[in-house]
Symmetry: C2
Subunit: 348 residues, 2 copies
């Protein structure tokens, strides 16, 4: 299996990207194509003790870099010789199996949609991170790829999230919940009401295991395997979770740093603190899938270090061998509304 | 000052409502009218050692109780002799200054809107809880009263939230942020984009201190004093915060309970743990204002105990003397859009 890594994306590029690639080749047995400025990549390899690319690592030189300053919608077209564009072309043309980037989300999403394209029939792509919830992790779909959604998009997110939980988390009959402000049917805005009806129907037909509305509190505590929502709400949920965890762990740090006795306490629970820290560490998962794109594309966190990049590559490799893209493709007819032809114009 | 307490609302009614009322009279120097089933209230008072209502406590008997099973939109009308309806009528008719209820939110909101009415010109009421954020607390407006919003509603929420922070939290120039999925102008859905323009204009005119979009993560860490959003998103934020805090404190409990040494650690940081616990304890604030209603109405948590009810009464008392309703009324012309006449039908 061959994974393309955007060597120029992220705050710590290309150093950490190169580190992550080397570790991935060593630990996961995958091949990695590093796409980016060749001289910079080579000098990083040298710093890491490799005079030439080690076995399993290939370099594809590109001269341009997409940054947060570029227009996300057009960056890939304006910078044709960027690691983003060239990397995605490699995957599109079947020269590699997946693309991993820690570069700007918007530019990655536009480029993935327009170069590798969405799966035929999928209206919008979704970002589906694995949240550290009470049941050992839940898929949140979407968390910001598509801020404004229709009921049909959410129906598709529900199916795709369900396949993700099944194929990649190994949950045989994933519980799918619609994020809402109350558990009862009829809660929420028009979007939730209409989506509820579609998901209920899909559930009755036995195609997904729809368990109804789920409130954010219960979702975090682990009530469902898949949390379905529009990208705006999903982003609020994800970022609130991050903020609250940061805030509370900050307060805990203060508590333990207070004096000699509290510092002793920290030592006594150091195992537990390590567990808490790793549970909340976004580097452990490393990457978030752009679900609905016809080829595996992963977004790594902008602040990724080598460990995070390696884990993002591992996630991408899992995605490649999971069969999720095939499952979505095979079931696309259930995921389209009869009226959805109207929207075709929006797909361009 | 006279505060009406719905003696029948909440999971622990009427016991905790009576307890909270007695404590409030004692500690806050307010008078309380307990509205509900007279015999039940009297027997609770007896249990608490009072053979007759103590000075400062008055009982108004009602025969009916609004429950979660009632239709929220019509309960107050169907049960005219309920504590909800009679209590709000007392406030409407000027016989008391504020109403506090731990009963069902939807029924309270409908009843407050239709009995005490909204402030003239206010399109929708909002629930504005005080969140325990990094800057010592921020107002979240709305958190579920109005799930679906227009830019005008959010403009009004921004003003009302700003007055709240100013008058009740004592922040002289409250920073108002629009909850969004990115900090830059132009982020989010149509609702956020249009609202941004309105808030920017209000900010330029010096009427609110609008600091732009705020992401949920930064909002929790305390970047703003007022978080403006539609009720659906606000509810997601509030419940995610609750869920994450519950989940993490649960994990912490496990960590400290593990063995004799970790239990010792818990003792060594018991002060800090107490602080954390009280920081996250919704009972400390006790009640959430229904902002935009023409008279002070407070929702207490359904699971309130006497301490929470007392604190909700304290919040209501603060609200009464704050002058916030007058500030909203005096500035209503800035809070209306020229086109807003169209929506009048929706106000019924």
């Amino acid at each position: 299996m061959k994974i393309v890594v955007d060597a120029m994306g992220g705050d710590n590029a290309p150093r950490c990207n190169v580190e992550g690639a080397i570790e991935a080749v060593r630990e996961l047995g995958v091949e990695v194509v590093l796409v980016g400025q060749g001289d910079l990549i080579l000098s990083q390899l040298q710093d890491l003790g490799c005079d030439a690319p080690p076995p399993g690592i290939e370099i594809v030189h590109t001269s341009e870099v997409v940054t947060a300053e570029d227009n996300p919608a057009t960056a890939f077209r304006e910078k044709k010789d960027s690691s983003l564009t060239v990397g995605l072309e490699l995957v599109k043309n079947g020269k590699a199996d997946a693309f991993v980037s820690a570069g700007p989300t918007g530019a990655l999403l536009s480029a993935a949609t327009l170069i590798t394209k969405r799966i035929r029939g999928i209206r919008r792509a979704a970002m589906a991170p694995l949240l550290p919830t009470g049941n050992g992790g839940s898929i949140l779909i979407d968390c910001g790829a598509t801020a404004e959604c229709t009921p049909e998009y959410l129906l598709q997110f529900a199916y795709m999230g369900s396949y993700y939980a099944e194929h990649i988390l190994g949950r045989p009959e994933p519980r799918v919940g619609l994020l809402n402000i109350g558990a009862e049917e009829g809660k929420g805005t028009e979007l939730q009401k209409q989506t509820y009806a579609l998901l209920k129907e899909a559930g009755k037909a036995g195609r997904i295991h729809f368990v109804g509305n789920v409130e954010a509190r219960e979702a975090i505590l682990g009530a469902v395997d898949v949390i379905v929502c529009d990208g705006y709400s999903g982003n609020i949920l994800l970022k609130t979770m991050e903020g609250t965890a940061l805030y509370l762990t900050g307060e805990m740090k203060q508590m333990f740093k207070k004096n000699a006795l509290t510092k002793l306490a920290a030592l006594l629970v150091s195992d537990g603190l390590g567990h808490l820290k790793s549970m909340l560490d976004s580097r452990e998962v490393g990457g978030t899938a752009l679900v609905g794109i016809s080829r595996p594309v992963f977004k790594a966190h902008g602040s990724s270090d080598g460990y995070a990049i390696k884990n993002a590559i591992a996630q991408a490799a899992k995605y490649v061998s999971s069969g999720i893209i095939e499952s979505i493709t095979d079931n696309i007819e259930y995921m389209r509304l009869p009226t959805s032809g109207e929207e075709k114009g929006a797909e361009a």
